[in-house]
Amino acid sequence: MPTDISKDDIRALKEGRDGAMAELVNSHTQTLLAVSFAMGFSQADAEELAQETFAAFLSALDRFEGRSQIKTYLVGILYNKAADFRRKSYREESLDKIQDDFEKRFNESGLWSRPPLGPEESVLTGEIKELIAQCAEGLTLSQKTAFFLRESEGESSEDICNILGVSYTNLRVLLYRARIKLRECLEKKWESGKHD
């Protein structure tokens, strides 16, 4: 799969040359749909996001200076569109609360004061997987996008930071919080399921 684009390709797109746009769409639609699905969008919304991303890219070709890979650049556009799309219903949780709640689980000497509950088996059963999947729906857009780029696309931290517009430290904190949140959620769901 071609991941990069040459100056010639950009020129071809600008001149509206035959096949240039088709090649762009053919090469990158799959990635754009995949990241949209990983963000939790429906098929219809995913397609709309992908289309808007291409349209935005084509209307500002000059802004793409070939510095980043085109795929990274397109996913960056899509991420911003998705954030706009979600903004109405999207509320970043108070960032310190997750950390605070986690710290409260330990006493002053660093021992668990409220030990973790939830599944204790060492095998990942279908039931546990399902609960984690449900919990993952509650992650923020940036968390979902970061996981997708790392796990699915194998992007470097640098590219992920560029796409999300965050620093390396922010990225680490973001993933750290995602894991705390997923575990807390798993614990809650598991325990409430047991006592139903």
């Binding site: 799959q30 204790e120 546990i128």
Partner: protein
């Protein structure tokens, strides 16, 4: 001696959260493992995080139906072509 060197539960769980359990320096890694052997709470915490990582990896790689992708490509191109 061991008790003083031994990382606390909080330190262990933080290492687990940042995924640094297995690339810590040798001595530290040994102590972390020892802690996990002795402490059921941290063991549970670490197993759960492992399960979470595995599941997230799977979710982050959505299976796309090639027919869906093909149809989307066609519609997107249709929309983008100048009228």
């Amino acid at each position: 001696m061991i008790k003083r060197l031994m990382p606390s539960c909080r330190e262990v769980s933080e290492k687990v959260l940042v995924g640094e359990l297995f690339n810590a320096p040798l001595l530290q890694r040994g102590l972390l493992r020892l802690h996990l052997m002795l402490c059921e709470h941290c063991r549970r915490f670490s197993r759960q995080l492992e399960m979470i990582s595995k599941t997230v990896e799977e979710i982050a790689r959505p299976q796309l139906d090639p027919r869906v992708v093909k149809a989307a490509k066609r519609r997107i191109l249709e929309h983008l072509k100048p009228k």
